[in-house]
Assembly symmetry: C3
Homo-oligomer: 145 residues x 3
């Protein structure tokens, strides 16, 4: 149970999104980074240092991508008044609010060098800003060999 070979590993990956509402499957990327780490069991934390972008899990198929975009538009519409926009005129008040609800941080456990994800459960990055952006994805891992 106790193991003195605890270690850490870290990678930063640049991801280009093309448009608002893009949802990018991170499954293969996170699996590869975990493999690069050489670590066997522990936690992986994926994090985006951005306030109009989010990470979450979803069954990655086109239907749910559309449903997610429509749900966000129904709950936090882009065409109502946001005080953020009135003050800063950058037209992304809805993006900020959506990102705060969805979270920039996703912690996934792993064992035997494999993430504990379900078959129909993919980790994704969603672009919430009105335009595509260069996004930075930080992957920090702690575990043992």
């Amino acid at each position: 149970m106790f193991d003195l070979s605890m270690g850490k590993y870290r990678e930063i990956v640049n991801i280009r999104t093309e448009a608002e509402g893009d949802i990018i499957d991170l499954s293969a990327l996170l699996a590869k980074v975990l493999q690069n780490s050489g670590l066997g069991e522990g936690f992986l934390c994926a994090f985006v240092p951005h306030s109009t972008c989010a990470l979450f899990t979803i069954e990655y198929e086109l239907g749910l991508q559309k449903d997610m975009r429509e749900t966000l538009q129904r709950l936090m519409p882009d065409d109502i008044e946001y005080e953020h926009h009135l003050r800063w005129r950058d037209g992304n008040g809805h993006s900020h609010i959506r990102a705060s609800f969805l979270s920039p941080s996703l912690v996934i456990p792993f064992s035997d060098g494999e993430l504990d994800l379900g078959t129909w459960q993919q980790p994704v990055l969603m672009e919430l800003d009105p335009s595509g952006r260069d996004r930075k994805l930080i992957i920090q891992i702690i575990g043992d060999i």
Copy 2:
């Protein structure tokens, strides 16, 4: 402060839910798993490898369980059109969207072998699928002795 006795511990627990909207209190279970670990201070990550099930914290009493079900139904109704359903005909588009908003991952710190939960704050698993299911709860812990 620094401690070379860092270790990890892991258990997988099967949980049977009976119906959509079931909310199961995990307090006693997580306390027991933490005790089994023998670890004193660190993080516990509870994770469900499912896309129509979620983990969160709530004051565990019948009133809020009803309020949570009604809030989900108001915000992500089960009787509107989901593209997921149109494509796959499995009638659980709303379940997936609710799960993405609520998250499958819950990280709780602990010290002196006890989770840092408030008196009126219980960790729970919520069934979001239209029927009861056999769910897998992964509990991964990292900490020191």
Copy 3:
């Protein structure tokens, strides 16, 4: 990559909120606690052991604070009927539901002794209870020197 100098650090900070909807910037506080830890790379978990209070990230400016309050009021209004209130008469059903959606737990990776936060991304504590409260913020860190 592997490092036998893994360690942990922990602080508990008391935070006084004045009113419902208060959003408190934790940036300087978390940076200081991380510095106190002497740790270089790993995870920081901030956690509130409360069921009517939440942690998340947002661009900390007055406009978005107002937008966040208005969004919560639109999605989980304080003036509809909550079963929690009917049973317990404490008038904070909406506070509990909002807290469950927003989460009491925030995990942020760090390296070189600095949190991986974006320039316009601040970690915050939001008071969701109808009145100001004394809140406890637990900061648990695991990483290496």
